[in-house]
């Protein structure tokens, strides 16, 4: 049974999903830090 392309597709898809999620976490972190900094400046 030739399923090697499906095997690699599954492994790549797993890390793409994790990568996208980790990227979204980093983006949210930087947005919140910036927001907090701006709020601190406003005081």
């Amino acid at each position: 049974m030739n399923g090697i392309k499906f095997l690699f597709a599954a492994y790549i898809a797993t890390w793409v999903i994790h990568g996208v999620y980790l990227g979204s976490l980093v983006q949210r972190f930087s947005r919140l830090r910036r927001e907090l900094k701006e709020l601190g400046k406003g005081k």
């Binding site: 030739n2 399923g3 499906f6 492994y11 999903i17 994790h18 976490l25 949210r28």
Partner: protein, 301 residues
């Protein structure tokens, strides 16, 4: 703590690389399925990790709901203790053992039941007050990520093995999709609702949503399904070398999930800090404008 995170990240990366090497190079090829079976080393650990995270979400949600009143907190504590004792005793009763899926040991069931009070008290001790809610949203979000991987890698295995991407009506597949949808709706509720009751409503939804987890897990024993039998816990058989690699892979995914949860937990705390700062700023602005308008209203009299 700041030093611990990078150290653990490096160790987890090494463990994940080792698990990948074991899965792709060391694991023997399956006689029937060929190499495509190796998807199991990502699919199954992702499913187990998602179940564990949804279980943590369930316990944190119960704790959060119970913490609303001291009387409910005390009642919940005794109910959880009773579930632990009754569950362990019942696991060894012949009448209950007859109901267990074939191959499942009573000790496995007793251990699973004991996890409920154990997690309940540990989570209550380590995550007091509002941190329970932070833990609940963290575990749900990371659980959804792992469940998404299960739903993506499953069809990628099914296509070459079954000849179809999805078996419509199959209870294991459908209940997993329903589980994913429940937790996605939980996250949508939390994201878009601004009501003061959102946290309570989300906790209640999580408690009902968690009831789908045992249905997903036990469905392959109690219903006719195309999904393969379980690899551990009875019913199925697996080469010990394959099982060893599967457990190594699960350990790697658990470490990775722990680090992701840690980051998400810190993000949620930061989010709440920003919200609090916004609220304080609005309050300060409102107080200042009220003070400014006071002499004006006096002079207009």
């Amino acid at each position: 703590m700041k030093r611990l995170f990078p150290i653990l990240s490096v160790l987890t990366a090494i463990l994940l690389a080792y698990a990948l090497y074991e899965a792709l190079v060391v694991a023997p090829t399956d006689a029937l399925q060929g190499d495509v079976y190796r998807i199991i080393y990502y699919h199954v650990p992702s499913a187990w990790t998602a179940f564990l995270l949804f279980f943590i979400n369930f316990i944190a949600s119960i704790q959060y709901l119970a913490s609303a009143k001291p009387s409910t907190q005390s009642a919940a504590k005794w109910i959880v203790i009773a579930i632990g004792i009754v569950g362990v005793v019942a696991s060894f009763l012949p009448a209950v053992q007859n109901l267990l899926p074939p191959g499942m040991r009573p000790s496995a069931m007793a251990t699973t039941v004991l996890a409920i009070p154990a997690f309940y008290f540990l989570i209550g001790k380590w995550f007091p007050g509002d941190r329970l809610d932070v833990l609940a949203v963290t575990s749900a979000e990371v659980g959804v990520v792992f469940c998404t991987i299960v739903l993506v890698t499953g069809p990628l295995w099914a296509r070459p093995v079954w000849g179809i991407w999805w078996a419509p009506g199959d209870i294991r597949l459908t209940s997993t999709l329903v589980l994913w949808l429940i937790y996605v709706s939980y996250l949508v509720l939390r994201r878009f609702s601004n009501s003061a009751q959102t946290q309570m409503l989300a906790a209640a939804l999580a408690v009902f949503g968690a009831l789908d987890v045992p249905l997903v897990y036990f469905s392959i024993w109690f219903f006719r399904t195309q999904h393969p039998q379980p690899v551990i816990g009875g019913g199925g058989s697996m080469d010990p070398r394959m099982l060893h690699i599967l457990l190594v892979s699960w350990m790697a995914f658990l470490c990775f999930a722990f680090l992701v949860c840690w980051s998400r937990f810190r993000l949620e705390l930061l989010q709440r800090e920003v919200e609090q700062a916004h609220a304080m700023e609005s309050l300060a602005g409102a107080t200042a404008s009220a003070k400014a308008s006071l002499p004006l209203s006096r002079s207009s009299r």
